[in-house]
Symmetry: C2
């Protein structure tokens, strides 16, 4: 295999540069050339620290994951789960351009497995039967990731902006439910409250799974 030896000393510096460019000019502006320029080096020098652009982006999602809060293991499982969920959402809002990579780049980094282990433990402590824990973990993390990506990427707000602009649109009769909900669609959404409510619903699902196991 053609793997050259990979240096590590300047990796944090390089990743910071990539993060800064993504924040300022979007993910598409993150190129080997722009990152290199910001670090003050030739594009080819980056290949001493990462095997290529893909590896650099993978390291970026690893960085985001290692930023998640580590809950106190002695806290109640609900608190631990909420801390991680809120941490993921915070990270998404701090790095809206980079966060969507979590969906497209299956992260197998130690940091990722650690988070999954914390979620497994919370679900076990909640009383979810062992056979169901992996599924419920995927259910929870898929939703939390999806919410964070949607909020940070504007998928949610785009929908409501459309709802606003559609008032008196060409064919109002074809969207009966929108029409009936018009009052609620025009209102500004409190995303903090929505995420809290969603987490509460998820907690119910978890408790139901636990009850089914012990019942």
């Amino acid at each position: 295999m053609g793997k050259r030896k990979i240096k590590t000393e300047r990796r944090p510096e390089i990743l910071d540069a990539a993060l800064a460019i993504a924040a300022e000019r979007g993910l598409d502006a993150v190129s080997m050339r722009t990152v290199a320029e910001r670090v003050g080096v030739t594009p080819m020098a980056l290949y001493g620290y990462f095997e290529g652009k893909d590896a650099l982006l993978d390291a970026l999602v690893g960085l985001l994951l290692s930023d998640l809060p580590a809950p106190d293991p002695s806290a109640p499982w609900e608190e631990r789960l909420e801390l991680i969920a809120n941490g993921a959402r915070d990270t998404a809002r701090r790095h809206p351009a980079v966060f969507p990579l979590l969906f497209s780049r299956p992260s197998v980094t130690p940091a990722a497995v650690l988070v999954v282990d914390l979620l497994y433990q919370a679900l076990l402590d909640a009383g979810v039967p062992e056979a169901h824990v992996p599924r419920v973990e995927r259910l929870v993390s898929t939703f939390v990731l999806g919410f964070a990506v949607s909020e940070a990427g504007g998928r949610f707000s785009a929908g409501s902006a459309d709802a606003r602009s559609r008032r008196g649109g060409p064919e109002p009769g074809h969207l009966p439910a929108h029409h009936r909900l018009a009052a609620h669609l025009d209102a500004a959404v409190d995303w903090d409250a929505e995420f809290r409510a969603d987490l509460e619903d998820l907690m119910w699902t978890i408790k139901a799974a636990a009850a089914r196991g012990t019942g």
Copy 2:
């Protein structure tokens, strides 16, 4: 504004070409140049049909959305919701390379609003209070989209592949929950069954929201 007039006749042909290239060589291989070549035309000819590459990709997600099944309005709300959810998952598996665009490109196409309206209607018929319908719709669609993207994009299987390869890894003591769940992590996952179970859990959440409203 510099909008030239946009032709429409050959748009389906162009989108089909883009879909075919994505299926054969991945989304990154979809370029104005490769698509044009497949259509048998110069790259610049595409600009007569789409304002640019972004517009072409937006049209691609519009195409995927219009592929979703339209449920019989007289069917029970559970059936309608399941039909749309399963349809989304089917579409993701038919177009795994393109489907993730649904997360990154807030689609405001008529097809997208139509699907949202059908979901609103199902939730209203389930008895969810009007004030909660938009939130629960986002909850449901975020999860369904997230599951479909994760499954199609390999996020789920990457995790389990890692779980397999980690047996006897360097630091087994640091992942206690993984260790305890080892038997279940090694087993092959039936994704059809998992999605069914997840939808059942979502239905419970919806019914709970409805009961809270009427109670």
